[in-house]
């Protein structure tokens, strides 16, 4: 099993007191499969994603990626999993301002020591990024930026891609184009995808859906 | 001439803006100076020179002159010597215990210019020198100097007199046409009831010619002059507030010296010397001379009696004086009035008037 979440719980201290964001959540995702995680705002979708990415720690429960339990790992271990096994696509600010588009695309792959120039060339061709390679992130549009973000996550050839509303900042048309490219290339790379979205239409295009409601998986 | 004695002391030590705080030793007799003595006789030519053993001394010359245009004018030339300590004290390069003061002025009816100088004797900036009958009294380039170089001659027989200020200079030649006049008892001049005295003699018989330079040109002048010489060591009485002094050349060739010393209680001490045309003096003690203010004039913010009635009944003298220039104010470090006058009445005269303490 690529991803196996068991009884995850997570609370935050807020000004209004302790808020339980995730409550005993369990789900699985097989290699090469895609899963959409839907839910209302504040349902805990992003938190779940952040826990899987090792960006935050769960209060209780286990996260197994390819059988390896994240909950026992230290900061360095988590960073390594993230670097080597996980591609992340966020709603905004995915890119590194200091680097060109070409450098951004290759960055994580090189960091992980898995730089495959022909695969990246393929990605940038497919994503229509070739004319933009020498530019800096702030010089291209939001839709282009998200394509780069998708390309960068795939460039790593990770086992798992975690995406948090990757098209949330785009208009409908652009969103559809980016999503289509994403799913095509995902299939090509063989990576699994866990995507957080509040759009039922997007969720419908993925292999499976789960609905989160007030911190628990809806039946 | 007690008046000038007091004047000098005060001038030197109270008057200069520097000295305005008064002289601490003023009220006390200072030990170590030579004292005036009735039994001493004046000896000439020696007594023309300086007497450093005495505390104060002056050469005081006033002249009534007329310029080439017939305008009357007066000239004043004064050098005072003041000892700050007895003469046997240390003689240093900058301090020999002698401080000198000079005043010079020229007064027309419509113009009055004057200058003031100070000097320390040690530097030779001022002094009085008598060598082989040659007298030289100087303050900077101001000089009173014997011209008759013949051995044994009278140092005052013929003298040159120069002075210079910011806006005037004069160069006069004076020739004596009469003898020296000794005031009081053969030069021992009693000045008050309390036995203060000085040595006092005059040469009132000078005929003058020379030039006076002003910023607008040079004027030739002629006329009469009067030299006073006096020295003493006795300090001023505490109750004296000022004095009025006069010297007169009568048309008859006779002359008069007189003064009135004003006390704070309103009383006056007067003294006079009547001088015959041949120089024979007669001294008159306190009360013989009467001086009455007749005409007040505003000058330098003060009210000064520039016109006087002067009576000496013993000589049938009853005259009224008027100032050539009522604004003859000596606005130096101590301000006073000094200028040429004319007199009419029982006698006609020219002369000089000095008034202090107004």
């Amino acid at each position: 099993m690529l991803l196996d979440l068991r009884h995850l719980s997570k609370s935050f201290d807020t000004a209004e007191g302790v808020v339980r964001v995730l409550n005993d959540v369990s789900l699985t995702l097989a290699a090469g499969q895609s899963l959409a995680l839907t839910g209302e705002s504040g349902a805990g979708k992003s938190t779940l994603l952040h826990l899987v990415a090792g960006l935050e720690r769960a209060d209780a429960g286990q996260i197994l990626i390819n059988g390896q339990d994240l909950t026992g790992l230290d900061d360095a271990g988590l960073a390594q999993i993230r670097r080597k096994s996980i591609g992340l696509v966020f709603q905004q600010f995915n890119l590194i301002p200091a680097l060109t588009i070409a450098e951004n695309l290759a960055f994580q792959a090189r960091l992980a020591g898995r730089h495959d120039p022909s695969w990246i060339a393929h990605l940038s061709r497919t994503l229509g990024l070739e004319p933009l390679l020498a530019r800096y992130p702030e010089e291209i549009s939001g839709g282009q930026q998200q394509r780069v973000a998708v390309g960068r996550a795939l460039a790593l050839k990770p086992d798992l891609i975690l995406a948090d509303e990757p098209t949330g900042n785009l208009d409908e048309e652009n969103a559809q184009i980016v999503l289509a490219l994403f799913l095509d290339l995902l299939a090509e790379s063989g990576a699994g995808l866990l995507m957080v979205t509040h759009s039922a239409r997007i969720a419908a295009q993925l292999g499976a859906q789960q609905h989160l409601q007030r911190g628990t998986i809806a039946p | 001439m007690n008046a000038k004695l007091a004047f000098l002391l005060c001038l030197t030590f109270c008057a200069h803006p520097l000295f305005a705080q008064g002289f601490a030793g003023m009220g006390q007799a200072v030990e170590g100076f030579a004292q005036v003595d009735r039994t001493n006789k004046l000896v000439f030519p020696q007594d023309h020179g300086a007497h450093p053993a005495y505390r104060i001394e002056w050469w005081y010359l006033t002249a009534n002159l007329r310029d080439e245009e017939g305008q009357d004018l007066g000239v004043q030339w004064t050098v005072f010597r003041n000892a700050t300590r007895p003469a046997d004290g240390p003689q240093e390069a900058w301090d020999d215990g002698q401080i000198w003061l000079g005043h010079a002025a020229v007064t027309w009816a419509d113009r009055h210019v004057h200058a003031e100088r100070y000097a320390r004797g040690a530097t030779g900036q001022a002094g009085a020198d008598l060598r082989e009958n040659q007298l030289r009294v100087w303050m900077d380039d101001w000089q009173l100097q014997s011209l008759d170089m013949a051995p044994g001659s009278d140092p005052l027989a013929e003298i040159s007199l120069t002075a210079r200020g910011a806006d005037f200079a004069y160069d006069l030649t004076l020739a004596a046409t009469g003898p020296l006049v000794l005031h009081g008892e053969a030069g021992f001049s009693i000045k008050s009831e309390s036995a203060q005295a000085s040595y006092y003699f005059s040469q009132p018989f000078f005929e003058v010619e020379g030039t006076i330079s002003l910023t607008d040109g040079v004027h030739k002048v002629t006329g009469h002059a009067w030299l006073d010489r006096e020295w003493s060591s006795q300090p001023l009485a505490a109750d004296q507030s000022g004095w009025d002094w006069v010297s007169l050349h009568f048309d008859t060739g006779e002359k008069l010296m007189g003064f009135a010393l004003r006390s704070t209680d309103g009383s006056r001490f007067t003294s006079a010397t009547w001088i015959e045309a041949d120089g024979t003096p007669t001294a008159y003690g306190n009360g013989a001379l009467r001086m009455t203010p007749m005409e007040l004039h505003e000058v330098a913010g003060r009210s000064v009696p520039v016109g006087w009635n002067i009576q000496l009944p013993a000589r049938g003298l009853d005259i009224t004086t008027t100032a050539l220039n009522p604004d003859a104010w000596m606005a130096g470090s101590i301000p006073y009035w000094e200028g040429p006058i004319r007199a009419t009445g029982s006698h006609r005269a020219q002369g000089y008037l000095e008034m202090t303490g107004y």
Binding site: I96 | P17, T123, G124, R164
Partner: protein, 816 residues
Amino acid sequence: MRGDAIAATLAAVLGHWRRHPMQLFALIAGLALATALWSGVQALNAEARSSYARAAGLLGQDQFDRILRTDGRPMDIAVFRTLRQSGYLVSPVIEGRLGSGPNALRLLGIDPLTLPVPALPETLQDGTLNVNDFLLEGRVLMSEATLARGLPPDLTPSVESRLMAATLDPNLATGLVIGDVATIARFLGHDGATALIAAAQQPLGLPPITDWIALRDEVVLQRAETSGDLERLTDSFHLNLTAFGFLAFAVGLFITHATIGLAFEQRRATIRSLRAMGVPLRPLILLLAGELGLLALVAGGLGLALGYGLAASLLPEVSASLQGLYGADIDSTLGFDPIWAVTALAMSLGGALIAGASALWRMAQLPILQSATPNAWGRASAQLRRLQGGIGVALLGLALGVALFGQGLILGFAGLAALLLGSALILPVFLATVLRIIANQTRDAYVHWIFADMRLSLPALSLSLMALLLALSTNIGVSTMVGSFRDTFTGWLDQRLASEMYLTTATPEQAAAVTAFLEPRVAAILPFALIETRFGGLPAQLHGLIDHATYRDHWPFLEAADQAWSDMATGQGVVINEQLARRDGYRLGDLFAVTPNLTLPILGIYSDYGNPEGQAIIGLSLFQSLFPDTPILRFALRTDPNRVTELAAEITAATGLSPQSMINQTAVKDISLRVFEQTFQVTYALNALTLGVAGFAIFTSLLTLSDMRLVQIAPIWAAGQRRRILAGTEMLRILAFALFCSLFALPVGFALAHFLLAIINVEAFGWRLPMSVFPTDLLKLGAMALCAAGISAIWPAWKLARLSPHRLLGLFAHER
């Protein structure tokens, strides 16, 4: 706008500072520091200048001409007498020094009987001191500070009691005693007048006093002047201080400019919204300008207080320097001048205006609907960068031109300014190039990112880096100068003061007794004589020395004819110091007027560091024939250096010569070096301050940038880099910047040192120094720069390491 609209707008605009208190602090601190350093230096200069003016005005030197002896020696009273008897109004002045040690007194004797009243001390004019006491009782005047610091130790009891009874005059400089000319002559033990003061208006009918002087070779007329020799001498020192003050002000403005720029950029969104809601542009700009003015006033007030404190704490060292270098007496207590305070506030306002003008202008030009991208601020356009680089290169060219062809103090400083400004301007270009090269050479993705990111943050940091560069270059330049000076100076002292011991006797009889005693006991007795004189109208010394191997072999000639020393000693020529040669343009072989009647060829020119005055040396026998009245009272002794202390004791026992009259060479060197060290104390202090300010500039830049840094860092973190490593990287970035700056500062600093040594020093002091490089000093400085940068980066890096993932994640999405 209506009142509540204004209030609402104000709240919206000013709210920024509540959310960014660190920015507010940086803005005020930057301006306050700039104002403090500038105004502090100005206060020091003003205090010194007013001391000179008091010294000059006191004697009426600023109103009255003075007559001096051509050779600078005391004037016989006969000159005074002659002038007075010629009718001229002149007044004698006697000057001299009394006592030894730091509390030595400067004595001034005046003649109140002849001195023009405006030249009299006020205490005498207003009657605080009775002139009779002054004239007849020997009462003197001095300031309370002089009395409070203590009298010199070696006074006779009678002089000491006179001084203790002095009347206090608050207007007098510390160390100055005024008395009657007779009183001061008594204290000094000699009668000659130093000068005669001539009244402004001379009596009617005299030829001009200049005619009288023109007929006499032995006297000269010194015109009334507001600045005496002293001010001329000390001008360069003050120019130095002013340059430092200005540099510090510039560094402070860098901080302010960066902060204001950032604050305005961050408020763009607010401003845009306000304008979109109908707030007109003009009141908005006025509001921002007013806010800036208010902040500037607050900062200026703080700076004023700081500057006053700085000046007050540096003043003793400045006084010591000026005293040591030029013998100028400066009060060591600081006065307060309202004009100075107003100027300082104006500087603060002006500084804020300069720093904020571009931000305000850009704000005024901003279209309402342009998107507010904070990043745009960070990336200066390539065009602007090229322009900046071009100006920098032009300025460096100008500096090079000055270095090659320039002469004169002002031009020297102008070249120096061009050098520093030009270097600062090309620094970002230099760094961008270096960073690009390194980034392109790197294979590792993370390291590549580090350098690429450094290059991206360059525009935001460049102002503080320029400040660091200026501080570092100045440090390198000045410490190289000081080090070169010390190096040359100690070497020169060894040569110049080759004799082991120096004695000064009081009378020819004592001189005879001492030499008779020493004859069998030392290797050589080298008699010498000197007089104070004037060459070319300026103060100078003339020495008479003999021929001896000590001089022949050691005298530090810069250039000399063959046998220069021997020929000079036999009266065939003269040797002069570098100062005199440079001042009056003498070259080897030129003829030099030793006295108005004697002209000799120049056989050699020697270095004479630390001496502000000209100096010439002739053979002792020639000296004696020229100045028969000047006895030979001074001797240099060659003997076993280890026996000097013993020998001194023996001389005292045998001849009664006081120990103070004997100086051993080590003591002379110590004294000389101490004077020198004190001179540069102020420089050191200001150096340290500018480095501190530069460190602070980096700190504030980093703090204000830290929010923006998150955007750069979050994706890296998300891509699998740990926060601790990222924080460490932040630190390293700053250290790398500091290192690059230090490297760049090296050539700039050396160029600066060249300016100081070869141009400014020559103009200001009259000598040129060879440049020595001190690697350990440079390493120390580099370490200091890295420390300053490192310290400034600790807090931002620590903040980053402790940053909650929440803050980072918040960037990626608004939803949890």
